[in-house]
């Protein structure tokens, strides 16, 4: 091994790295110990690397990122696909197939009111041509809730500080869907527009409203619906389901 080959390997050597003991580095390290010029060069490399690594480790994630990750993941685990893919649930699902088909048949001719209402909000969001752009204040005119909606570090599903009465007082657009008052707020995240529809949780039968996100897509539009203790939400974006997942 000549010194150029040794340098190539030593540039990649990390004293604290998981492969510091790798045999590939041993010969180059021995050569650096035996050759003063190579040793001095290696010492300079190590000092530079240590300084850069320390600066990089000093970068701290923005406040709220950890909580946003945990909340988003908790909701995603509630999605049906996360459980029906597991082997145990697959076995159970197979044994329940007949029952499920009966239920599905029943739902075709008589949909449950709560599920239907959530679906109707999503239908509206997927097909309404104007949405709220020209009909009500955008998020930047909605005070703390508007700022929260537009904060890129916050997951949209992480306990929104929403007050529907206040939204109404602020002139937020409200539409009537299946007899329920639904508010519509436009907000911008990272250059993309989103439209959030909010309704009272009590307007939906708890037993039939899914807590976790339910996605739908139609053309360029996609919606995701979920509920918490106070509200039912439908979020719409034109960038497909990926655009929604980025802020869930």
């Amino acid at each position: 091994m000549n010194n150029e080959q040794a340098r190539f390997l030593l540039r990649a050597y990390r004293p604290g790295g998981r492969d510091a003991g790798d045999a590939a580095f041993s010969e180059a390290l021995q050569q650096a110990q035996a050759d003063p010029a190579l040793g001095a060069w290696f010492e300079g490399q190590q000092a530079f690397d240590a300084a850069v690594a320390a600066r990089l480790q000093a970068v701290t994630p923005p406040p709220g990122l950890r909580e946003a990750i945990l909340t988003g993941a908790r909701l995603s685990r509630a999605e049906p696909r996360t459980w029906w893919r597991s082997a145990g649930w697959l076995a159970m699902a197979a044994s329940l197939a007949v029952i499920a088909s009966v239920v599905a048949t029943y739902r075709v001719w008589r949909p449950g009111p709560a599920q239907a209402e959530l679906a109707q909000i999503a239908d509206f969001a997927l097909t309404e041509p104007a949405v709220a752009h020209d009909a009500g204040p955008h998020a930047d005119h909605l005070g703390a809730f508007g700022a929260w909606l537009q904060n890129p570090a916050i997951r949209i599903t992480s306990d929104p500080p929403v007050d529907l009465a206040q939204l109404k007082a602020q002139g937020c657009r409200a539409v009537n869907i299946a007899g329920h008052e639904v508010f519509e707020v436009c907000f911008n995240r990272n250059g993309g527009w989103y439209h959030l529809y909010l309704a009272r949780r009590s307007d939906f039968a708890p037993a039939q409203s899914p807590a976790g996100p339910v996605f739908r897509e139609q053309g360029q539009r996609a919606t995701v619906a979920w509920t918490d203790q106070e509200c039912a939400y439908v979020l719409m974006a034109r960038g497909g389901a990926d655009a929604l997942r980025r802020i869930l």
Partner: protein
């Protein structure tokens, strides 16, 4: 995976993943998105991973692939053929000056390194993955990782040296101006 185990996984990895994402995406908002998206994918798919010891490597790999996926949507990725040949050992700033630099300055310099070198270089400095894991995450051979690392380091040294020289120039200029204003 239980909720506590998932929380431990997040606590052990989210800061390093965010640093990696920040070096790739070059802004805080996109870095947050990438980090969150990575754990979202874990929550929906990663639980199928049988070897828990590979979770860290899986997370870094997934984040990098999500970054590439987003880049493909936004425009073309820099190809190696587009890049000028790297210098072997360009002048580096004094070590004590690098140590005295703000973390943001060093990260900004890292973000200026060509994208194809930036990913292996950042993973090198984060010291979370072995070379074989870095190679797997970037989907290139180990030798390519080392080669890109070498060229990435050369670029980083040049950028930091330029920043140091610029900063020194500004100080001289400012001092001279102040002296002229002194009666």
């Amino acid at each position: 995976m239980g909720s506590d185990t998932f929380t431990q996984l997040v606590d052990a990895n989210y800061a390093s993943l965010y640093r990696f994402a920040l070096s790739l995406a070059r802004n805080q908002a996109d870095a947050c998105d990438l980090t969150q998206q990575t754990f979202y994918i874990w929550a929906t798919k990663g639980q199928m991973l049988r070897d828990a010891a590979k979770a860290k490597s899986w997370l870094f790999t997934t984040l990098y692939r999500e970054f590439l996926r987003g880049r493909r949507r936004g425009g073309r990725i820099t190809a190696l053929d587009d890049l000028p040949p790297g210098e072997a050992d360009p002048p580096a700033p004094a070590i004590d000056l690098v140590a005295a630099m703000d973390a943001g300055v060093v990260v900004a310099a890292l973000q200026e390194v060509d994208e194809v070198f930036r990913a292996p270089l950042t993973l090198f400095y984060l010291e979370e993955l072995s070379y074989h894991e870095i190679a797997e995450a970037l989907d290139v051979p180990v030798g390519t990782v080392m080669s890109r690392l070498s060229r990435g380091k050369a670029q980083l040294r040049t950028i930091l040296a330029q920043r140091e020289a610029t900063a020194r120039g500004n100080v001289v200029s400012f001092s001279a101006q102040k002296l002229r204003q002194t009666p």
